[in-house]
Subunit: 200 residues, 2 copies
Amino acid sequence: MDQEIEESIQVKAVTKDEILLAALKLFTSKGYFKTSLTDIAELLGLQNTSTIYHHFKDKQMMATEIYINIFDSLSISIDEIRRKNQRSSEQLKSITELLFRLTDEAPDVIRFLFVLKLDEFLPDEKPALETAAFVKVFKIIQSGIRNGEIRDIDPQLINAYFFGVITHTLCSVLTGVLSKKADAYLNQSWSAAWQTIAKR
Amino acid sequence: MDQEIEESIQVKAVTKDEILLAALKLFTSKGYFKTSLTDIAELLGLQNTSTIYHHFKDKQMMATEIYINIFDSLSISIDEIRRKNQRSSEQLKSITELLFRLTDEAPDVIRFLFVLKLDEFLPDEKPALETAAFVKVFKIIQSGIRNGEIRDIDPQLINAYFFGVITHTLCSVLTGVLSKKADAYLNQSWSAAWQTIAKR
DNA sequence: GTCTATATTTTGATAGAC
DNA sequence: GTCTATCAAAATATAGAC
C-alpha cells in the first residue's frame, strides 16, 4: 500500500521501450557514433547512464534491439500485404504506400532503414537485404518476373531501380529538399518506380 | 650532396596525397568514426600519428580536404561535359557514364560520394546537393524541363528519380549484390533512369 | 530503477628530440 | 618528416548504496 502511494507520487519510471525510442531518435538525427549514452540519458531526463545499463548489456545491444524491432515489424507488415494482395504490382504498391506512410508518421523508422549505414555499427547483424523482410520483397519480384508482370532482368537490378526511386524520394522528403509530406509524392513516385521495372 | 645520398637511401617519405588516399580508403571501408588516426598511420607504415598531424590540423580537416578534392574534381568534369554536349539528355548520359566509370576505376570516390553520410562527420560543409557540382546538375535538369526534354515536375523529384536509379545501382555494384562491373549495367540503368524523367 | 562514484580504455592531439 | 613520450578529454562500463 505504501508502495502504491509512493508510485503514484514519484515520477514515472523510464521503461525499456522509452529508452529504445530515445536512442532511435538520437541515432537517426546525430548518428550512432556521435550519440553518447549520456546524450540518451539526458533526453530521458536521467542524471546518468546507469538506468540504461540496467536494461541493456551495452550500447550495441540497444542498436541491435532497435534493428530487430524494426525489421521484424516490417516483415510482419509485408506478410499481411502479401496475404491481402494477389499480383506483384499490388503487393509492391502496398509496400510503397506503407513506406510513404511511415515516412510521415514515423520518420525515424525510415531514417533507420534507409539513411543510416547499419553495417557500420551493427557489423554482426545480417545486412538489410538478407533480412526476412527484404527476402520477401525479393520473392515478390521473382514471382512478378515469372508471371510476366515485371521485366525479366536480374532481380537485384529490379530491386535497385524500384527502390532507388522510392528511397531516394523518401530521403529527399526527410532532408526537406522536397517540401511537402511524403504522401503528396506517393502516386507519381509509385508510377515512376513501377515504370522502370514493368514489362511494357 | 650528403643529403642527396641520404634521400636516395632512405625510404620514401609519405606525402600529403598518400595520407589522403589512405584516409579515403579507410573512411569508405570502415566509416569515418571507426577509423582512428592510428589506423591511417599503420596503413601508411608509420609508427605513430605525428606525421599526419604534420600535414593536417586535425582529423576533420583531413576529411574536409578529401571532400573538397572530390567535389571540385567532379565539378570540373561536369563543366567539361556541359561544354561538349548540347542537350540535357546527352549531358546526363555523360554524367552517368562518368559515375559508372568511376565506380569501376575509383570505387572509393563513389563510396565517398554516395555511400557515406557526409553530414555526420562534416557538419560544417555544404550538403552535397548545394555543392557546385550538384548545382550544375540541377541546372541541367531545369534547362531540360524548359526545352521540353524532361517532364515538368519539381526538379528535386526529377533528381530523386534519376539519381535514385543510378546511385542505387552503383551501390549494389559496390556492395557486390550485383556481381558484374558497373560498366555492364550502364546502358540499361541509363535507360531506366532516363525513362523516369523523360517527357514521353 | 535511479543515484554517486569510479575504473578502464581509446583516441585525438601536442611538445620536443633527431 | 618521423620518432618518443605524454596529455587531456570523452565515452563506455561497473560497483554498490538507496
